[in-house]
Amino acid sequence: MADVFRKMGSMAINGIWQLGFIARFFWLILVYSGQSFTRIHLTLRELYFSGVMSLLIILVSGLFVGLVLGLQGYETLQRYGASDSLGTLVALSLVRELGPVVAGLLFASRAGSAVTAEIGLMKVTEQLKAMDMMAVSPIARVVAPRFWGGVISMPLLAALFSAMGVFGGWLIGVVVIGVDDGAFWAQMQDAVDFRYDVLNGVIKSCVFGVAVALIAVFEGYDCVPTAEGVSRAITRTVVSSALAILALDFVMTSFMFRG
């Protein structure tokens, strides 16, 4: 019995320890960001690997999510004779929730895991230590560019996801099923507000970008430097990013879209 309490206690202390470490790590990234921005090509390179390389999966899944929303939304709306509101349904659910959240989940598993693996492997092969020996800060050289690459690409990817989803909904609703084109766009524009809906969605995706990028670089930097440790760190990145995205989404939705 006492053993259980001892375990719980050590888990709690470890969790708080890690929280403190991650906060300090975040602060260090911000401090070294200026130094890493002086060599902007490093960040551009990461933007290429996490942003451009995620483009295909984001666009294709956005299209499919839009297609499904169009089909399912039409199915329900036409029972109430409200199939003209299909555009509203598709656009609002994408811009407010699905765009940032699903794009964030995809981004975490596509780009976040790769970043963790890369940094973790650098740690295993002692490249980070070698940099430190040469008075090159590994945080400025390795971590900060990957962090900013993720933070910058996330909102862009979420916007592309939403846009592609709206296009998918339009494709199913207007082209395949035959909802009126004018009603589709007019109802959508009537219901979707730029500040209230679109901008809040962008804020969400920025927050998810920071969360996913921070978790990915931290897990890589903090991993146990063995083959097993790296693989565990990658798993932790995907799992904690997904949890962080969903929990943060709930928190932000509850104060953004009240009433």
């Binding site: 090509h41 551009l44 390179r45 933007l47 290429y48 942003g51 451009v52 483009l55 109430y80 656009a91 811009v95 690409s153 909102p155 862009l156 990817l157 916007a159 592309l160 939403s162 846009a163 592609m164 709206v166 766009w185 959508m188 524009q189 009537d190 979707v192 507000d193 730029f194 500040r195 209230y196 809906d197 679109v198 969605g201 962008v202 009433g259």
Partner: protein, 158 residues
């Protein structure tokens, strides 16, 4: 991969992302506030506002002229006070009638204004005196049922 082609791809990616944001802003959403010019405030008191909400449209003859900006309860008159902004291009006579209407059978509620024939115009901050409350479906049904019951009463007396 040489650096120049990579830069090109990053540029394409960022441009696409910004284009998607513009698409969401302009085609999917509408930028609010830009269509109402030099707004001024009016208010109206209602016995019952039904399901009227803040940011609900204010319409005259079906045309959007403003939005509801605030709804509060007046504890001295026991009435709801609805404050709304109106586009500065439009002026209304002092005997304008304010109704709470519903768009469609299940649609949203909005504030409808019916301009009267008075020559004096409402100044900013004025209160519209002639109002009609929202139609509450339960009241309507109970009235209908009571009137039906009243109709049926004389029959058994015979």
């Amino acid at each position: 991969m040489s650096r120049t082609t990579m830069d090109l791809w990053v540029g394409v990616f960022v441009a696409m992302g910004i284009a998607a944001l513009f698409f969401l802003a302009l085609k999917v959403g509408s930028i609010s506030g830009s269509d109402i010019q030099s707004p001024y405030l009016l208010s109206a008191r209602f016995d019952n506002i039904g399901g009227l909400k803040v940011r609900a449209p204010v319409k005259v003859a079906g045309v959007l002229v403003g939005r509801v900006s605030e709804i509060r309860y007046d504890n001295e008159r026991f009435q709801a006070e609805v404050v709304f902004t109106v586009d500065g291009r439009y002026k209304f006579p002092t005997d304008t009638f304010a109704n709470i209407l519903t768009s469609g059978l299940l649609g949203e509620q909005y504030l409808g204004l019916d301009p009267g024939g008075e020559e004096k115009l409402l100044a900013p901050g004025d209160v519209i005196k002639k109002t009609q409350s929202a139609v509450v479906l339960e009241k309507l049904i109970s009235q209908f049922m009571f009137s039906k019951a009243a109709e049926g009463e004389p029959a058994p007396a015979k």
